[in-house]
């Protein structure tokens, strides 16, 4: 088990992080290249002012009509995404490992707080799953890959939670956790999870087109 742990938290983690950062840069660069080749005119009306105005509205809960229309979804989405991003970055265990490996460290969440945030992510994933299965308008646009993506995202949190509490077999859970984390990192740029990279661009484009061309709001 220790050999496997050292493998998934060593060489495989290197591969995962390289795929994550390299893949992210590659995806953004090729998207910009494609726009430049196919629809260069878009650049002519891109505007920082309208871009940032749109992004700002959409990252504030209830600041858009769409957010207000679906209050429950809005609350779940915002807390889910916040906890999803903040928990692994500010987790004590993770920072301890960064410190040991690269001599870098930063502020950390108390373990009890991180534990609650983990539960929020897991419950959020359950909510999205139920919504996909039960809501006709969501079911209509759902494919098998949506369930795969949801599993990839939830897995590090479920296994991390079980490992932290030392429920079931601890060494096994720890190995599965790191493996699940590596898979999530590697998958982010290459699956629909890449909305993490592209949503600011989408919003900037929509904001600019609505603001500068149609003279309307996009929120």
């Amino acid at each position: 088990m220790h050999t496997f742990y050292n493998f998934v938290s060593g060489p495989l983690a290197w591969v995962a992080f390289i795929l994550f950062f390299g893949g992210s840069i590659y995806r953004i660069a090729s998207m910009l290249k494609l726009v430049a080749e196919k629809e260069r005119f878009i650049f002519s009306y891109m505007s920082w002012r309208y871009s940032l105005r749109s992004i700002l509205h959409w990252i504030i809960p209830f600041a858009t009509v769409n957010w207000r229309r679906q209050p429950v979804l809005t609350v779940v989405t915002f807390t889910f995404h916040l906890c999803l991003l903040a928990t692994p970055i500010f987790l004590l265990s993770h920072v301890v490992l960064w410190d040991e490996a690269f001599n870098v460290s930063w502020w950390t969440l108390p373990d009890a707080v991180a534990d609650v945030m983990t539960i929020i992510v897991i419950l959020g994933a359950v909510y999205f799953l139920v919504r996909r299965v039960t809501q006709p308008e969501v079911k209509f646009v759902t494919s098998a890959s949506d369930f795969v993506i949801l599993t990839i995202v939830a897995a590090p949190f479920i296994t991390g939670f079980l490992a932290y509490h030392q429920w079931l077999s601890y060494p096994l859970m720890m190995c599965l956790h790191v493996l699940a984390g590596d898979i999530l990192l590697a998958a982010m740029p290459f699956t629909r999870l890449s909305h993490m990279l592209f949503s600011p661009f989408t919003r900037a484009y929509m904001g600019s087109e609505f603001g500068k061309v149609r003279h309307a709001r996009d929120w």
Binding site: N6, S93, V96, D99, D111, Q166, Y170, P171, M174
Partner: protein
């Protein structure tokens, strides 16, 4: 009847507590985490004498070291001092922070020897 039981029970608990705390003074079974403010984990298991016997470590300075000008002194040891007397919570220069001093010392040897725990929960057992 009730009061008798109560007195007997508290006596029994008192005796057990007295004995166990006496034990832990003789035989170190965990590494005390009092030097950390607001510890987040359970203290690490470490049955001092049994551990060192099983691991075959004869030189106390393997852990209780003394440094001078960045060099470890061969024939001196510091078992009369806690690690926290030299390693503060922040760390400075070549001297690791207290948490890192422990982790590097314990995990480092376990990794090098491919024996002994390396995952958080194997030492910080709930």
């Amino acid at each position: 009847m009730k009061t008798v039981t109560r007195i007997a029970l508290s006596l029994a608990i008192g005796i057990v507590l007295a004995i166990t705390s006496a034990w832990s003074q003789d035989d170190m079974t965990i590494v005390d985490n009092a030097a950390f403010d607001n510890p987040q984990r359970t203290p690490s298991v470490f049955v001092h004498d049994a551990h060192n016997e099983a691991a075959g470590i004869d030189d106390c300075a393997e852990c209780h070291h003394v440094y001078e000008d960045g060099k470890r002194l061969e024939d001196e040891s510091s078992e009369d001092q806690s690690c926290s007397e030299c390693h503060d919570l922040k760390g400075s220069g070549g001297q690791p922070s207290l948490i890192k001093a422990f982790h590097t010392s314990c995990k480092g040897c376990h990794q090098a020897q491919k024996k002994g725990p390396i995952m958080c929960g194997e030492c910080h057992i709930k």
